[in-house]
């Protein structure tokens, strides 16, 4: 079922926290489903033998799986057409068993060059130890 958490992004101001999204631990099934659904069949994410030979010890999650979670953190509250930009840097590898929580903060509410009021939202994804896996920013246009 969809969460019924309420958050009015149109009223958000700089330094407001964005509601967090917590995901269950990443399992090998999570990675297999993402491999098939995404079309990214890189064996590094699903084939433990390949990942060991590549020097990574074990499979690692697709960075885009984590970015997918971060995207959900936005679209839970923002109609997707309002999202203008979404940028991330992958800083640490996500591994089997990691529990990803996405958090965010509005960093600015400002008027863009075209006159639209926009929000800049910093979004990060961290594991259960607080290690930041991915750091990102989204630009969201507010209704006129």
């Amino acid at each position: 079922m969809a969460e019924t958490l309420a958050f009015d992004y149109t009223a958000a101001q700089a330094r407001d926290a964005w509601p967090a999204l917590s995901m269950p631990p990443v399992s090998r099934l999570t990675l297999a489903l993402y491999c098939g659904a995404s079309g990214d069949h890189n064996p590094l994410h699903v084939d433990a033998d390949f990942a060991r030979d590549a020097g990574l010890g074990d499979v690692i999650a697709h960075g885009m799986l984590v970015m997918g979670y971060m995207g959900r953190t936005l679209t839970r509250f923002v109609p997707q057409p309002a999202i203008r930009e979404f940028n991330t840097r992958f800083q640490a590898m996500t591994r089997v068993g990691d529990e990803i929580t996405c958090t965010g903060e509005v960093t600015a509410r400002e008027v863009a060059a075209d006159g639209t009021t926009i929000l800049r939202v910093s979004v990060s994804a961290a594991d259960q130890r607080g290690e930041i896996k991915t750091q990102g920013e989204a630009v969201i246009a507010l209704p006129a």
Binding site: L33, Y34, G39, R72, T75, Q80, R84, E85, F86, N87
Partner: protein, 147 residues
């Protein structure tokens, strides 16, 4: 080292349909619970003509090429050494199930850090729909680890 003459490398043009079942599978894979991304009627009730392509799925559609890693071979990039360093999207209009999206993909930068221990390859993608309208752009930055 990756030859910097590959800056400007263009992948073969690629067009792919956006399939409804695939969008539902992707929604499941990222744990989606919002019915707008799962249920055609809910999407339409929210004002969409069909299931929307979610923000990060454009990246995935580009990998539906027959040889998604063909450009790695052409540039001399070894798959086991590759990590995804950064990813950025710029959105211009929505795309939906039933659309046909065309990807124009080009390598725009190659550089290295730490005396060549890390190499970076930047690829820009422009995505247009069956009406020729620009839908989105994305930039993928790959990191190639040596040693």
């Amino acid at each position: 080292m990756i030859d910097h003459r590959h800056i400007g490398y263009v992948s073969p043009p690629f067009t792919t349909p956006v399939e409804r079942g695939r969008l539902k599978f992707f929604a499941k894979a990222i744990g989606e619970t919002d019915p707008v991304y799962l249920d055609e009627a809910a999407a339409q009730a929210a004002g969409h003509p069909s299931l929307p392509v979610p923000p990060t799925f454009f990246f995935c559609l580009e990998m539906d090429r027959a040889e998604p890693y063909g450009w790695f071979d052409d540039l001399g990039i070894e798959l086991p050494k590759v990590l995804h360093g950064a990813q950025g999207f710029r959105y211009h209009r929505m795309a939906y199930a039933g659309d046909e999206l065309t990807f124009d993909s080009r390598v725009t930068d190659i550089y290295d850090k730490k005396g060549g221990l890390l190499e970076f390859v930047v690829q820009d993608n422009r995505i247009s729909n069956q009406r020729g309208e620009l839908v989105a752009e994305f930039t993928r930055t790959l990191v190639i680890r040596h040693g």
